[in-house]
Symmetry: C2
Subunit: 201 residues, 2 copies
DNA sequence: GCCCCTTGTTAGTGGTCGTTAACACTGTTG
DNA sequence: CAACAGTGTTAACGACCACTAACAAGGGGC
């Protein structure tokens, strides 16, 4: 499998992955049949096996892919390093929000279907997730030195829950213009982190 | 079954529901077979049908039950009404945290498996959820009059995501003594709400 | 002792679903 | 043209699974 090919249009694989993500998010991994996934891209059923080893392989590629993209994006922003740790934290939050808003289904699948993976894939995803969390934790602790590591880690997880709630909250609702949603989410996340640092209950 | 049938300290139904919730949270509704649920309570397979009409009925009862308990608890705290709206908001947050920490599996199932319900049950759960959200929204707007209704509603959803992240973040990890976790989550939620009200990005 | 309700059991059934097998069409390459 | 790699089709298989059927054991009420 040489990866040298660069199809101008979206490859079949990508098309399938996108639809599979949507369907998995809507009805769960076990709730979607291969026939449905095939139908969603205009082919039917077993034709998928020309592109993937099986249903599990699609889920694995989705979850590993998103975890890698999140981590890479995070590392980039940290490396770019603004003028201050605070700026980096802002960038991390903005990046994560963009991700959550752009790839709604992926975010949903990401934290729901992890346990449906084969052991080896699950370990890989868990490792990537852990690294991504640690990335955030370091930045948070730099911005709020009063925060213990355990607190920072819990806060990061909680803020992920906060940011990832977007797909869940906007079934088809009237969420205001995207920039407003982005700004609100960013404010919420920053407010939460600031409160994590403060010692008063 | 030689156990001296303790007079319904916990009924069989409750026992089944508890185990079903745990299993559904671990492996998803479709990922769990009725035989497993039966085995978890010491009977096997189709014996469950003496207590429930079917697998769907168990999920429905779980989701409707938790939604009702959340709403009832919320209403109680609002009715109790502390000395200020702020106190009520604190009580709502504490109540929700207790719930999330006490009924980890239920919280998980609650926002993952809603779509596996029959239309009528799904509508009921959605309605209960909506009422619960509106309860919070009213209190939040009272505490932070600067907040628009749309902002308040989005913030409430986001804070739910934050608070409900606990089950997800503590697989078996070292989360510090429970009271510390409670306090941290409360601080995070309050910080987020406060930030939602503030206009600066 | 008899009835019957409750709560179990095991065996079987029908349907769904992931996967494989066998075959067909297409375009490129030599 | 022939060979072939790539991509699709339909048919069938085997496993799993929710659910039903038929039957059994315990235990009050009369």
């Amino acid at each position: 499998m040489s990866s040298t090919k660069a199809p101008a249009t979206v490859s079949r694989r990508e098309q399938i992955l996108k639809e599979a993500a949507r369907l998995f998010a809507e009805r769960g991994f076990h709730g979607v049949g291969v026939d449905e996934i095939g139908a969603a891209v205009g082919i039917s059923g077993p034709g998928l096996y020309r592109h993937f080893a099986g249903k599990d392989a699609m889920l694995a590629e989705l979850l590993v892919g998103i975890s890698e993209r999140l981590l890479d994006g995070g590392r980039l922003r940290v490396a770019d390093g603004g003028e201050s740790a605070e700026e980096v934290l802002h960038a991390l939050i903005e990046g994560h929000i963009d991700f959550a808003l752009d790839d709604r289904p992926l975010i949903t699948v990401h934290d729901r279907e992890l346990d449906r993976l084969r052991e080896v894939d699950r370990k890989r995803v868990r490792q990537l997730q852990r690294q991504y969390v640690e990335l955030w934790v370091e930045v948070v602790r730099e911005v709020y030195p009063a925060c213990t590591e355990a607190e920072a880690r819990a806060a990061v997880h909680a803020v992920f829950g906060l940011l990832n709630s977007t797909p869940h909250l906007s079934p088809r609702a009237s969420l205001p213009p995207r920039t407003a949603t982005e700004a609100l989410l960013k404010r919420l996340a920053l407010g939460a982190f600031a409160a994590a640092a403060g010692r008063e209950g």
